[in-house]
Symmetry: C3
Subunit: 658 residues, 3 copies
């Protein structure tokens, strides 16, 4: 279990370093990320490398028992580079080059930039690749730029040629006869800025993924040329950010990590749990929280602080969801630069800020729990599917301004989180062995691999599959399937979508899966049509727009004679109805319920060793006291107390039970 | 009476065509618009024309009794053209060229583009100009682009030289001494981007009208070179869109048509009736609805569907307002392209979508009524005036953010529509013979021709003229008249505007035209000053901002000894007061009231043969049942029933009585 | 006491002039500003000067007893200039040149523009510099443009070199090690567009100040080469506009003036009084209102008119705050141009508009009071500090979207205005002799000079100093001080800021300076920590976010044994609490209370002769009658009446008592 911070020794006189590192150690820190924006300190002039200061910083940390994660500094190229090689600057959508002085001003497709990146990374790897004090590498920082340079344009056209083979094939898949879009040559194809042909837009998103993958591979190759195998390589992602396909980038990484910020307001564990689960799903194993906020950020509309105690809950919540490390960003704010007012542990005066005490508590507690947490990981019976293709395509064609694909997924996630049913979030093409229930929210674009996995899940694995609105309307070229939704999943769904509707007003929905239930559909509705006699209609619309009236809203289709079942949900249900549906789904799919009774706001999750021993986390996310009822007894790792029966947790109280 | 759809045979394999056309025929369709985005299918490479497929599509339609409207495909130039001739691309306000892949990316002022347009249109006309299966042509599609290219800039300067003769004259009319704007040469004059000199801005709008007129003339000339005279030529306009002066463009067209979309929400006949009346006024005869939505669109914030039955009401509402054709856009959504999710009659699976049934009903009913509707047209005693000059000038100087000139017109229109008084909307310079009441909303810019027509109307024709706020403040160069409002209409108005006020809060208004009435003025107020002893003050402001207090708000001036009268309304009245004023105006002007008593939401309108026989439309726009009282008996053309006395209409019920 | 208007004789035929000037004289006007946009009339072609018309206009005015302020016309270069010298055009942030036809389209850094500016100004000065009819000059008009041209870029780099000496020093002060921003040469430094390094952003604001200072100096030098010393030179500023450091520009001016507009809504004297006080503080003496609105403007969302009588109150309010002149903009609207619909005194028809009567009343009253007002000026015991450095830095790092630095200052100002305690607003580095109470709102950036003045104020002058939130966090390079807030003021404050918080929800605050008081802190809170035993905690936070709970919210520190005191306010108090704090501060600082009791909305202020005789202004800003109680008797200069005891003022009533 790692606990630490991001530190920028290059911001401070070296005489100050020992004091900083001492305070890190006293906070229980055992890891530190450094150097990821230090290019101008590492190579102040072209070809003049200054790595000694970095070596000394690493040594000082190691002397204090703090391992190092080394960032490659490529997110912030130095001024001498961008000034003398303007072709390394990214181009904005309006055609102007990005300016030096912020981050991510580089063009990830620039051959010149690649040359300089390779050189700095190779130099770093040669120096620190065999260093036992460096346990891992972070490539760049929060990839996010879309560069509209001529390099990008030509490479995109080249990518399309590679993907489609011929311009005729591209025209066919994109249906370019529409609006005379037909291309006679790949060099006629534009970079999409604003709305464009759906095929072009989706291909461009995949191309951007390719750009980052190649940029990352270039760096990985440079590191691996010199590094010992124990040094892992990661990148710090940004939760639900959809700038590229994270699964594709993670193929080449050893570890997934993410940067977790709340911004304005406060932490809602029924939402952010999903971001942890998502990140855990990138490599299907535990992950790191590479950055998180020590109190407040500086970039939100209102940069309020977390409540006292909230960060501790967040730390344990992350661990419960599979985090093996938690690093605060940042240790101490630089006296200058864009993030002067960001939260930090050490103040402008060099002394601890109030938040430091909470960090010390977290550090001490993590240390206490480290033993029992070793080699444990969450293990769940429920999976949610995530597809970047589907999200990109949906986001470009919301059809209802409120149809946010992530909000749609979270609408399904929240009731699971509320009843403490752990969830994995995995790639829509992932192997689904071992799950009892799979929720596939709005798989607008469906690949053949996804169809095969889902079919196998409900036939061979006899699982329960939940399909939602906007599923199976598009092929992987973002073209409409020539059949109704859910397209190639119609057969296993045992139903199809007669018509879809964006809703300007809610419609009544009557559920019949348990007792009679009444609620509403909002934002979206699809009138379903059973395709099989075995298909049950388990909810209907009431009188609405004339088209939906009394039509099927949710169907259940038992697959084969003793196969699984597919539930097709034809609307965005109101909260209570969604909650009731979830309760029934959990039961119908045979998912094991959480044995500890917990009131609202109290999260209960487990991590398991490979031989099935569990560590149970009970986290009171309320500011008020709450009590849970344990079915047996347990020992609280944090306090050593033995707990049984009704256990009272103070506001923001945490129990880690074995 | 034509009923049909837009069809894109180029999107589909030819083997599919017969099935589509069969379903069109079964829906009662007898017209189809094709080819208007098919340039890349008609001329896949420069100079290589492929018209055979189009001929086969036309033939298939004709075999099924469906006439063809042929679109010129110039709204979507092919990629080979824009790629090899980048000077054909429009330039955005920020100086960047438009990209291929959407529509309207061409520069309408490009000589190169003109050359290619002429060629494709001439080729089409040569092939289909004598074809009896083709009944008409649509030029381009929904003109809307403003191109900021160098060609446009030079042509604008040339246009100004032609209009003003000398730079001195231009300087004088635009009062360029203000802010040192004085030009010493036409080549110094910029294209206005953002706010500019009012004279420049108005001239630019007129120039854009000229650009489209010439672009359209070029195509008309190309068609007329080869076509038989029976083939009419139209363009599909967009209702209240103000990108150019529609009256000027209609001078060269045989027929006016428009594209009628609701977007988010539902149809309000007291608003959209005005758009039909506007389009009917372009040529002062019946018009076509060239496109309308089959259920929903795909470009609105929420693309909800029309209620079941609503489209049928809309169809009859259009016919009642003078539509002689109604075409749904589109028949079937293309598998690719930006409008995949737009409403259509045929689904992705090639089978009818639910809306198709409603279309079939409409088709059958229109066929039943076609006989009685032949050669009928609306005939009204009330005219509203519309001036693009005034709207452009007002929109650029709203002075109150809510002073939308179209909203202002509709504020006057709604009470007429509510009481089923039919209205014509005509050009502000139109001949007004035959009208009893003319409403001239906010004629901010006044031409001499308009002044002459209005003067003739109230003197020779003894009509009742209603002038509203913001009338007669500007000459045709958008310069202030050197007299108070209503400028050259002061004499017939018998009053002038002492001062105008944008209102940040409502002001009390007391009406005295009938009994005492109390209400409010909003958005705008003008304190009137009678100029004649014969001028009656028929409404006054209450205590307000100190300047308006107790001042005249509405005046009535009887013109001459037995002439007509002018009512000058000095504020934007609250709804109830506006309604009361309308009731009185109708009476005072001697307008014939609608004899059928109808409750709110029930529209009653008539079309007449040239010898005065009427077809009466009774349309219940409510979702609930409503009843009307007929003064005599009538036969319902749709059902054959005879109706008399109280007639009950179900929700969305329609009667077409003769 | 000057009263007048802006007049544009170049807009009108010369035959009209006598009528206009006659009406000015009849309105009591004795000053007129002319020529400030007349370049194309003064130099219609390059090098061809036409000054005779201007001479005749000046003569006509003088013949009618109206003095002239002459504007240099450089805010609106003529078309021949910008067309033939495109390098004189400003460059927009997106890289495109500004267009001719609006104002301020010139580049203030263009050497070519400087050449033409020097020529026209020298020609004007040579002609009118000795003219006794011209009493003063206005340079340009409302400086506001930021030009992103290559000239600006190079000059900025040159400026930085001059300021920092070496690139190493710049890197050190800006802490460019952060994000690899380190520069190796001044020519690498970009113009900041959007967020950037705080050091760079602040330096750029100071550089823009330098640009305007040099542009202004160039013109002043041109004038002074020929002008008699009695002609003063001013510029018309725009109140709280922060485009440059007004104190720096005022160093070279003889007189401060500003343009006072209300826009939408109505005048609030507790806000606009601060803008007058600000402008008075630029030169620390009386000022001019160079432009104000005659009824309404034309550029606001809703251009409503001032209530009848409101403008008169505004005029006396300005005088009470130290205005020695009031000029309406404009006399008569030009028939063309962007401001056709702006308020004016004379209508399109050449006759007075209703507002003219109110202007006549004001003119007559000012004339009556001129004698007693001669050589009088406000004299106050309270000063507010204003720092452009602090405002720029805060605005770029609001940290809470609602932390507007001007709103923060006005939050402190309002309760003083409400209780009729006059206030000076002076430069944060100004000498504070003579004040009893100094309020220093949010001095985010602190210079050494400010620290020295404030220290002297509380030690030597024994004054009461109020420091507020966000004080003393940054040095003049916009870098964090290496100590906690209030940085170098910690010692005199006797307290420091343990932690600062942007608030997403209000927090309870309990005041203890008088009786117990309860209220809230909003937007911002700082937990204070006393540094001395003598520091009193006079307010505490209640239970809030866990960090603030029960912590010190306001402290009072008596400086030295018989020195002054420093009150450090750690939150943005709710209105009532702010009001209570102000009441106590006034008392604690020994500020003389206003002896006249006045109800809400009635302003009472004084101007004094150098020997202490006072003129008292009693202004009822309410639309309803209000009464005040005079402690003695006074004579009303406007009516000649003697007033004593309870005096009733009608709505918008004014008394000027001696």
């Amino acid at each position: 279990m790692y606990f630490g911070t991001a530190w920028y020794p290059e911001h401070w006189p070296e005489t100050r370093w020992p004091e900083d590192v001492r305070m890190m150690r006293e906070a229980g820190m055992n890891v530190c990320r450094i150097a990821e924006f230090a290019w101008s300190s590492l190579e102040p002039l072209e070809g003049e490398y200054e790595f000694d200061w970095l070596e000394r910083a690493i040594a000082l940390l190691a002397d204090n028992g703090i391992a190092v994660v080394l960032g490659t500094p490529t997110a912030a190229p130095p001024a001498w580079l961008t000034h003398h090689h303007p072709d390394t600057l990214a181009i904005e959508p309006d055609g102007r080059p990005a300016q030096h002085g912020n981050r991510c001003h580089y063009s990830p497709t620039s051959p010149t930039y690649h040359k300089y990146v390779r050189r700095i990374v190779e130099h770093m790897a040669r120096r620190f690749g065999q260093d036992p004090r460096v346990i891992g590498w972070q490539i760049d920082n929060e990839y996010n730029r879309i560069d509209y340079s001529e390099n990008t344009h030509r490479q995109f056209q080249h990518y399309l040629k590679e993907q489609y083979g011929s311009i005729e094939a591209l025209n066919a898949h994109w249906h370019t006869a529409y609006w005379s879009q037909t291309y006679t040559d790949f060099d006629e194809i534009p970079l999409p800025i604003g709305p464009h042909n759906p095929g072009l837009m989706l291909a461009f998103r995949r191309f951007i993924t390719r750009v980052w993958k190649e940029f990352q591979q270039l760096q990985i190759a440079s590191i691996r040329m010199y590094s010992r195998p124990e040094q892992w390589i990661t990148h710090n992602f940004m939760g639900w950010f959809d700038g590229f396909d994270h699964y594709v980038l993670c193929e080449d990484l050893d570890l997934a990590s993410w940067d977790w910020y709340v911004g304005t307001g406060h932490h809602d564990y029924t939402r952010t749990g999903a971001a942890h689960d998502l990140t855990r799903g990138f490599k299907r194993r535990n992950f790191w929280v590479m950055e998180t906020q020590p109190g407040s950020v500086n970039w939100a509309p209102v940069n309020n602080v977390l409540y006292r105690g909230e960060a501790r809950c967040m730390a344990w919540h992350a661990v419960a969801h599979g985090a093996d490390a938690l690093l605060y960003w940042q240790w101490r704010s630089a006296p200058g630069g864009q993030e002067q007012l960001h939260g930090s542990l050490i103040g402008a005066d060099g002394r601890p800020r109030p938040f430091y005490q909470e960090a010390c508590q977290i550090g001490a507690e993590l240390a206490r729990a480290a033993g029992v947490l070793r080699d444990t990981t969450p293990r769940n019976e429920v999976a949610f599917l995530n597809s970047y293709d589907a999200r990109w395509a949906l986001d470009a064609q919301r059809h209802h301004r409120d149809f946010d694909p992530v909000a749609h997924l979270l609408h399904y996630y929240r009731p699971f989180a509320s009843r403490n049913i752990g969830v994995d979030i995995v790639h829509a093409e992932a192997d689904l062995s071992g799950y009892r229930l799979v929720v596939a929210p709005a798989l607008f674009v469906l690949s053949e691999a996804t169809v095969a996995q889902l079919t196998r899940f409900v036939t061979e694995q006899k699982g329960t599959l939940v399909l939602t609105v906007r599923t199976g309307q598009k092929d992987v070229h973002n073209a409409l399937f020539p059949v109704l939704q859910p397209g190639p999943l119609r057969e296993i769904a045992g139903a199809e979508v007669e018509e879809f509707f964006a809703l300007d007003e809610p419609v009544p929905v009557y559920g019949e899966w348990e007792a009679s239930l009444e609620g509403q559909g909002r934002i979206w509705a699809e009138r379903l049509r059973p395709l099989s006699e075995r298909t049950q209609v388990i909810a209907r619309f009431g009188l609405a727009n004339g088209w939906l009236d009394n039509g099927p809203a949710i169907t259940r289709h038992p697959v084969g004679t003793d196969g699984g079942q597919v539930v097709l949900v034809g609307t965005w249900l109101s909260e209570a109805l969604q909650d009731a549906l979830t309760r029934w789904l959990v039961q119908a799919a045979g998912v094991t319920p959480e044995p500890i009774e917990a009131p609202p706001g109290v999260e209960v999750l487990r991590r398991y060793t490979s031989d099935g021993c569990a560590v149970t986390f009970v986290i009171n996310h309320n500011r008020q006291e709450a009590s849970v009822v344990l079915p047996g007894t347990g020992q609280d790792v944090l306090t050593g107390e033995t707990c049984a029966g009704t256990v009272i947790l103070p506001g923001y109280g945490v129990r880690v039970l074995v």
